[in-house]
């Protein structure tokens, strides 16, 4: 019988047949931690009795979640992680380099790789056809020590995409729509695999946005095939040699097949306090917003800043609405400066934050006050996520975020651009 993308990658890395439901041991191509999960990983590695990490060139540390550090305790965690990197000779990307998932896409992820990270949004690299998934600190510590870990080969949901996006509708609207359809646990333990004619014009930036949120439906991975788009992205990052085509077999076995016509979609908004609480931006019209945040591993890329800049250019943010922007990486920031996006955004009243997770998880750089509402381009709006359980968090695309920053309330971007 044919194989899904998940089964193919796990077959190659486990040297077993790897059909859905099997438990396999697979070798790992990259294992990483960030600054809020790394310290426990180091402690567990020490407790495990392993003196060293198996292959330092396959281990990376990213200081992104609270960066630059907002507290003494976090600064001490950062010191611990820097010492560990020096001692083990693994990679470290210090404050200001960007968000782990963006840097993994730019620097590490190859089609057919297995990537495990101590962060739930590790699934982002599925856009490059890497079997990439989040784990806890202990699993990651043992993966560092052994260079391998165990997986249950997931069953796969195939999501066929047809048609193209209407004006001002984006990948974020698609994935919010899909999570609304699936529910927050609709794909628990499953692989999501994206296919269909629309893939031919779905950019890597858009694919990264979609794969990033696979975990919000409970999925273990969100995989795109490796095709010409993948090849183009890898060569843009100076990594052409890493490209190999990778597609599912035509007779692969899918647990469920869904189809979505992109041309039928409209701007979507996820309402508090659950990502699957999705409605159209039209239905959210008029909800007052105190802070707009454009950035994160979901939507902090160059294409996202380009969309925001095009909407905000020559306009001003609403006086009572703060506008925060955090590029996903140093590369994104530099390109956004070169292209003039940063200039337009700052002129429109934006605060530019350093490349990193910024306000996303409520540790610093935009913690909300009691009763405040934030429209964010992030992936999660759980109660308390942005540092205050008395705040209301809405999720949307960079276009909807930019339009809402101008109006001071949730706004369908088609309203300000026509």
């Amino acid at each position: 019988m044919g194989k899904t993308l998940a089964e193919k990658i796990l077959r190659d890395k486990s040297q077993t047949d790897a059909m859905a439901g099997d438990i396999v041991l697979a070798t790992i191509d990259l294992v990483f931690v960030q600054d809020t999960t790394g310290p426990l990983t180091i402690k567990q590695l020490e407790d495990s009795g392993f003196a060293a990490i198996a292959e330092p060139e396959k281990v990376a540390i990213f200081l992104d979640h609270a960066a630059p550090s907002p507290s003494q305790q976090t600064s001490n965690d950062h010191i611990l992680l820097r010492h560990f990197a020096k001692k083990t000779n693994c990679y470290i990307y210090d404050v200001g380099n960007g968000i782990c998932h963006q840097l993994v896409a730019e620097l590490f992820a190859n089609p057919g790789d297995i990537i495990v990270g101590a962060d739930s949004h590790t699934v982002t690299a599925g856009a490059l056809c890497a079997f990439a998934t989040g784990m806890g600190s202990t699993d990651i510590a043992i993966a560092m020590a052994l260079g391998k870990t165990w997986f249950r080969v997931p069953e796969t949901f195939l999501i066929n995409l047809v048609g193209s996006f209407p004006q001002l509708v984006y990948a974020k609207d698609l994935i919010l729509y899909l999570i609304g359809q699936l529910g927050a646990d609709g794909a628990t333990y499953k692989a999501l695999e994206f296919g269909g004619e629309s893939l031919a014009h779905l950019t890597m930036s858009e694919r990264l946005t979609i794969s990033n949120m696979a975990v919000e439906a409970g999925a273990k991975v969100g995989l795109f095939p490796s095709d010409e788009i993948t090849q183009g992205f890898l060569s843009s990052q100076g990594r052409s040699a890493s490209y190999k085509p990778l597609y599912p077999d035509a007779d692969a076995n899918y647990e469920r097949i869904m189809s979505t016509n992109l041309s039928q979609l409209e701007p979507m908004v996820s309402f508090p306090h659950s990502v699957d609480n999705v409605r159209s931006a039209r239905d959210a019209k008029g909800i007052k917003i105190h802070q707009v945040f454009i950035g994160t591993c979901t939507n902090g890329r160059l294409e996202d800043l380009a969309v925001a800049a095009s909407i905000l250019q020559g306009k001003r943010r609403y006086p009572d609405t703060r506008l925060l922007i955090a590029p996903a990486s140093r590369q994104v920031l530099l390109q956004a400066i070169e292209k003039g996006y940063i200039h337009s955004l700052v002129e429109a009243g934006a605060v530019i934050l350093p490349p990193g997770c910024a306000a996303c998880l409520g540790l610093h750089q935009g913690v909300l006050g009691d009763g405040e509402a934030c429209l964010s381009t992030a992936n999660r709006n759980f109660k308390g996520r942005m540092g205050n359980p008395k705040a209301m968090l809405y999720l949307a695309s960079p276009a909807t975020a930019a339009a809402s920053a101008i109006k001071g309330e949730i706004t369908d971007p088609r309203e300000v651009m026509t």
């Binding site: 310290p39 784990m135 333990y189 205050n388």
Partner: protein
Amino acid sequence: MPETVLKGKAIKLGDNVSTDDIIPGRFAHLRSNLPELSKHIFEDLVPDFASRVHQGDFLVAGGNFGLGSSREHAPVVIKMSEIAAILAKSAARIFFRNAINQGLPVLLCDTDKINDGDQLEINLTEGVITNLTSNSRLTSTKIPPLMFAILKEGGLIPYIKKHNDFEL
């Protein structure tokens, strides 16, 4: 897994309890100081949790328990509160694996049949839950043998110390 039969009281929770509900992200700066971090368990969702929990109690949740972040600190602080096991209709993938790695049993079963305060007896080897209050029995979904072996050793660190590798 020192005990295979556990007895305790049910503390009932709802559906979709996130890792932010269990241990809010805003306390990330305390993650290298677990005793301090654990004081904030369920601070937003169950503010009186500390006064309600007794050693050996069970968390009994609805669907999708532990969704969200990969933070292993969530099962760590639950274990530190001396909760003996978690019962849920379903559990998020990363949380489920993390809990087992911490030696904290998670049993997937129909928790609608359990009320807050019910006295339960859990046989971990058989996966059977006896509700002593309503005098009824529930069977939990079997977990893969590798996960059961990790749980039996008290978590992934003791498992690896003993076996030096994963044994399928």
